[in-house]
C-alpha cells in the first residue's frame, strides 16, 4: 500500500544531505570544542560554522547571538524565564497570545506563580492576532511580549513585524517562537525587531534534539543550565556537535532552497485545500493566505478526528488532529478553541503538514482517500443528515 507521511509538523525525516554532513562527527571527528587539540579545534570550527548558517537564515548580523540548545521547548523556556527573571525589576507584566505552544504557555504559567502577570491576546476566527490589541494591552509594567511566528496546527502566520515595531517603540523585549516558521518562510530578526527567536532543527529537516535561541546582542538573560560556561555562558553543557552540525546544514539548505521548495509546497498545499473543501460541511482552519506553505488543516462537521486519523492510517496516510480524543488530557486543542470553535467542532479536525518528501501523487492519494473516510464516518454519526 502506498504510504504517505503528512505529519511533518509533529516530526520530520532528516534530509539526506544533513545526515551525510553529521555522520563524521559520530565516527571520527569526535572532539570537544573546548579542547585545544586539532580534533577539538575542528569541532569548534564546525560549531561556529553552524552558528553562522543559523544566523544567516534569520538575518542575525552577529553569529554570537545564536545559542544552541537541546530543542525548541528549551529555547522558549530559556528566553521567557531567563528574560523575565533578569528584568523583573523593570516590571512583571508579560503579553502573549492564546494560541502559543505549550512550552510557552506552561513556562508563562510558572512565571505567573512567581508573581508575573500575563495577558493573553485572543485571536480572530482565522487565528490572527491583532497588533492593535497587543498595543492596547501594554502597561508600564510590561517587560516582555511573546508571539509565535506561525502556528503549526492552523498554519496562520502572525503580523510579527507590526508587533515587533510596537515592542521596539515601547522598549519591550519581544520573543518570537519561530519553531514552525524558520526554514519555511523568510524570517528577519532585525527588520522584525525580534529580541529572542526560537528555532527548531527538526522542523526544517535537521536532526531532533537540537534547537537554537537567537538572543539579540546586548539583551541579557539569566541562564538555568549552569556549568562549564559553554554557549557564552547562556547554556552550559558539552555541545551536541553532530546535532549542531546537522542543524547548521539544514539551515543552510533551507536558506538556499526556500524560494523553490516553498513554492512547490504551496502548490501542493493549495491543490489539497481546494479539493478537500469541495466536500460538504468541510471548513479550512486558519488563514487562507497568511499561511505556512506546508500546512493544510481542516475540520469536518459530525465526525471525530481520532477516527479520521485511524482510518487514514489504514489507507497508509499519516496525519494529525486537534481532537480531544487524541490528547492525554482529553482537552481539545486550545488553538482551535481560541479561534472560537465549539468542542464538537474542534472534535473533527484534521491536520496535514507537508514536507520535502511529499509529491503531487501523495496529494492526490489524500484527495481521493479523505472523502471516502469522511463519508464512512458520517454514516456512523448520529449528527449527520445528508444534504
Amino acid at each position: 500500500m502506498k504510504q504517505v507521511y503528512m505529519d511533518h509538523g509533529s516530526a520530520s525525516p532528516i534530509d539526506a544531505r544533513v545526515l551525510e554532513a553529521m555522520i563524521p562527527f559520530f565516527e571520527n571527528d569526535i572532539g570537544n570544542p573546548s579542547s585545544l587539540h586539532s580534533q577539538g579545534r575542528k569541532a569548534k570550527r564546525e560549531l561556529e560554522n553552524a552558528r553562522i548558517s543559523v544566523a544567516k537564515l534569520i538575518g542575525a548580523p552577529n553569529p554570537k547571538s545564536i545559542i544552541f540548545t537541546s530543542c525548541a521547548t528549551e529555547c522558549n523556556n530559556l528566553a521567557l524565564r531567563g528574560a523575565a527573571l533578569r528584568y523583573k525589576d523593570k516590571g512583571n507584566h508579560i503579553i502573549t497570545t492564546s494560541i502559543e505552544h505549550m512550552s510557552v504557555m506552561n513556562a508563562l504559567k510558572d512565571l505567573q506563580r512567581s508573581g508575573f502577570e500575563v495577558t493573553y491576546i485572543p485571536v480572530d476566527k482565522d487565528g490572527l492576532v491583532d497588533p492593535g490589541q497587543v498595543k492596547n494591552a501594554i502597561t508600564d509594567k510590561t517587560i516582555l511580549i511573546s508571539v509565535m511566528y506561525a502556528n503549526g496546527e492552523i498554519g496562520t502566520i502572525q503580523p510579527i513585524r507590526e508587533i515587533g515595531e510596537i515592542a521596539s517603540e515601547r522598549k519591550i523585549m519581544f520573543h518570537v517562537d519561530g519553531t514552525q516558521a524558520c526554514g519555511k518562510i523568510p524570517v528577519d530578526v532585525e527588520k522584525e525587531h525580534i529580541d529572542f527567536l526560537t528555532i527548531s532543527s527538526n522542523d526544517m529537516g535537521g536532526p531532533k534534539g537540537v534547537g537554537a535561541l537567537y538572543i539579540k546582542q546586548g539583551v541579557r538573560i539569566i541562564p538555568f543550565m549552569l556549568g562549564g560556561g559553554q554557549e557564552f555562558g547562556m547554556r552550559s553543557g558539552s555541545e551536541n556537535i553532530p546535532g549542531i552540525v546537522g542543524m547548521g546544514k539544514s539551515a543552510q539548505i533551507a536558506q538556499e532552497e526556500m524560494t523553490v521548495e516553498s513554492a512547490r509546497l504551496m502548490k501542493m498545499r493549495d491543490r489539497l485545500i481546494d479539493n478537500i473543501l469541495k466536500m460538504e460541511y468541510t471548513y479550512l482552519t486558519g488563514h487562507r493566505t497568511k499561511r505556512l506553505p506546508n500546512n493544510a488543516s481542516f475540520r469536518f462537521s459530525f465526525i471525530e478526528g481520532e477516527s479520521i486519523i485511524l482510518q487514514l492510517n489504514d489507507l497508509g496516510i499519516t496525519a494529525s488532529t486537534g481532537s480531544a480524543c487524541s490528547t492525554k488530557t482529553l482537552e481539545p486543542s486550545h488553538v482551535l478553541i481560541a479561534m472560537g470553535l465549539r468542542h464538537e467542532e474542534a472534535h473533527g479536525s484534521l491536520l496535514l503538514t507537508l514536507g520535502r518528501g511529499n509529491t503531487i501523487e501523495d496529494i492526490d492519494h489524500v484527495i481521493e482517500s479523505v472523502p471516502k473516510i469522511v463519508a464512512r464516518l458520517r454514516e456512523l454519526s448520529p449528527l449527520y443528515v445528508r444534504k
Binding site: S307, L310, N313, H347, P382
Partner: protein
C-alpha cells in the same frame, strides 16, 4: 507502518467493521448520551419483543474506542432480556474488546450508558403506550349479565384492580331474583339456611359497588367479535368480554301452552309468589329439582299438587324427596307425560298419558307449572361465531375462554350444572386469567 495506537486488535476490528450501524424503523427505545468533556455522542436504538432485545443499532460521533464500544455492545445486547441488558457494565464492554487504553475507559466508553438509556426510554414509552392504550378502552372487563356469574366475576375482577363494568337488562341477581327471591340458600357452603337468594344478591351488589364496579342497568343489543358492546346508551370497548347471560326456564312444548302462558291465564314457568296459588289445584310438569322445589314451595298454599313426571323416579336430592313425601297434598304421577292444556279463557284441564299403561288421563286443574328445566340464554351469540354444543351451552376451555380470543363465558351458559356455586367459581377463574392476560405479571 507500525500501529501507533494502543488499541487491541478487537477494538480495531470493531472500529474498522462496526456491527449494527444505523437506525431502526419505529424503534421502541432511543438512548442518546454525550460526554461533555470530549464531545463524544452516542445514539443507540432498540427493538423489543417480549422483553427481549430483538435488534440494537447505533450511531456514534467519537473516536475509535467510542465506535468500537458502541459496535461491541450491540453484539452483546441482542438477544438479551431487558433486565440482563441493564446489567451490562462499561467494564464488561471493555473486557469483551480485550481492554481499552486507560485514558479511554471513562471518556469513550459510554456505550453501556447509551444502551441503558435506550432501555429506560423504552420502558417509559411502554408505560405511556399502556396509558394511551388503556384510554382507548372503556373498561378492562365488560360483563354481560348481572346474575350470580356476572356479579361475582365483576367483584373478583375489580378486586384484582381491573376496570370492570356489568350490564344487566333487568334485575341484579338474574334468575335468583325473579325465579326464587325468597328461597333459602341450600347448596352454597357457608351460607346454607342462613340467607335467602335476595340477601345473597344484595351482598354481591354492595360488594361490587364498594369495589367501584360500574353497574349499568342497560340492555346490551349487540356484542361484536372485536369486543365492543352496543347497549342502549352507546358503545363501550372492553379488553375482555365476559358473557354471563344465564339461563331461563325451558318451554314445555305442550299443546295449548302458549295460549295460557301470558297474563295470568294459568300456565307458569316458576313459582314466584306461592300466595297466588292459594286454594288452587296445581299440576307441576317435570321431574327434576325445579319441579320438586316448585311443589315444596306450594305446600302451604295450594289445594292439590300433582307432579307429572315422565320418568320412573324424581331426579332430586334425597332430602327434598323425603320432605316432599311428608306432604299429603302432593301426588306424584310417574311415567306420565302432559299432552295438552285446555280451557276456554283460563286453564281448566290437562290431558296426560300414562306411558306405562299407554292410556290417557284427564285432570281438572287451575294452574300448570312447567318446571322442565333451564335453557342457556345463548341464542343471541350464534351470529358472532361463538361455538356451542347442541344443547346451546357455550364451549369454553379450562380458563372459561370461548373460541374467540378475549371473550369468556361463566355460569349457566357454560355449565349444565346450573349452580350458583359453579357460576361463582367460574368468576374466580375468569378474574385470574383476565388479570394475567391484561397485566402480564412477572410471575406468568
Amino acid at each position: 507502518m507500525e500501529e501507533q495506537f494502543e488499541y487491541s486488535e478487537k477494538v480495531m476490528d470493531h472500529f474498522r467493521n462496526p456491527r449494527n450501524v444505523g437506525q431502526i424503523k419505529d424503534a421502541d427505545g432511543i438512548g442518546r448520551v454525550g460526554n461533555p468533556v470530549c464531545g463524544d455522542l452516542m445514539e443507540i436504538q432498540i427493538k423489543v419483543e417480549n422483553n427481549v432485545l430483538k435488534d440494537v443499532k447505533f450511531k456514534t460521533f467519537g473516536c475509535g474506542s467510542a465506535i468500537a464500544t458502541s459496535s461491541m455492545i450491540t453484539e452483546m445486547a441482542i438477544g438479551k432480556t431487558l433486565e440482563e441488558a441493564l446489567k451490562i457494565t462499561r467494564g464488561e464492554v471493555a473486557t469483551e474488546l480485550g481492554g481499552l487504553p486507560p485514558i479511554k475507559m471513562h471518556c469513550s466508553n459510554l456505550a453501556a450508558d447509551a444502551l441503558h438509556a435506550a432501555i429506560k426510554d423504552y420502558m417509559s414509552h411502554k408505560e405511556e403506550k399502556e396509558k394511551i392504550e388503556a384510554q382507548k378502552y372503556d373498561f378492562d372487563v365488560i360483563i354481560v349479565g348481572g346474575g350470580p356469574g356476572g356479579l361475582t366475576t365483576g367483584i373478583l375482577c375489580a378486586y384484582r384492580g381491573l376496570k370492570t363494568a356489568i350490564f344487566e337488562a333487568s334485575n341484579w341477581g338474574g334468575i335468583l331474583s325473579w325465579l326464587c327471591p325468597n328461597k333459602m340458600i341450600e347448596n352454597f357452603p357457608g351460607l346454607c339456611e342462613k340467607s335467602t337468594c335476595t340477601d345473597l344478591v344484595n351482598s354481591w351488589v354492595n360488594e361490587a359497588k364498594k369495589l367501584k364496579v360500574e353497574l349499568k342497568k342497560e340492555r346490551v343489543n349487540e356484542i361484536t367479535p372485536d369486543k365492543k358492546i352496543i347497549s342502549e346508551s352507546g358503545e363501550y370497548k372492553g379488553k375482555i368480554i365476559v358473557l354471563a347471560t344465564g339461563s331461563s326456564p325451558s318451554a314445555g312444548g305442550i299443546k295449548g301452552e302458549e295460549k295460557f302462558s301470558k297474563n295470568e291465564r294459568g300456565v307458569y314457568y316458576y313459582v314466584r309468589n306461592p300466595g297466588n296459588f292459594t286454594g288452587k289445584r296445581v299440576i307441576i310438569v317435570g321431574g327434576g329439582n325445579s319441579a320438586v322445589d316448585a311443589a315444596l314451595s306450594l305446600a302451604d298454599t295450594a289445594d292439590l299438587i300433582t307432579i307429572a313426571c315422565k320418568n320412573e323416579e324424581l331426579r332430586s336430592v334425597p332430602n327434598k324427596i323425603e320432605r316432599l313425601k311428608a306432604i299429603d297434598r302432593v301426588k306424584v304421577l310417574y311415567n306420565t307425560e302432559v299432552l295438552e292444556i285446555s280451557g276456554t279463557d283460563k286453564v281448566e284441564k290437562v290431558l296426560m298419558k300414562d306411558l306405562k299403561e299407554d292410556e290417557n288421563i284427564q285432570q281438572v286443574v287451575d294452574s300448570v307449572v312447567l318446571a322442565v328445566g333451564l335453557t342457556p340464554n345463548t341464542e343471541i351469540f350464534k351470529n358472532i361465531g361463538l361455538e356451542m354444543d347442541d344443547r346451546g351451552y357455550l364451549k369454553t376451555d379450562k380458563t372459561q375462554k370461548t373460541n374467540i380470543d378475549g371473550i369468556y363465558a361463566v355460569g349457566d351458559i357454560a355449565s349444565d350444572l346450573q349452580l350458583v356455586v359453579v357460576a361463582v367459581s367460574n368468576g374466580a377463574t375468569v378474574a385470574h386469567n383476565a388479570y394475567i392476560e391484561l397485566r402480564k405479571p412477572y410471575w406468568r
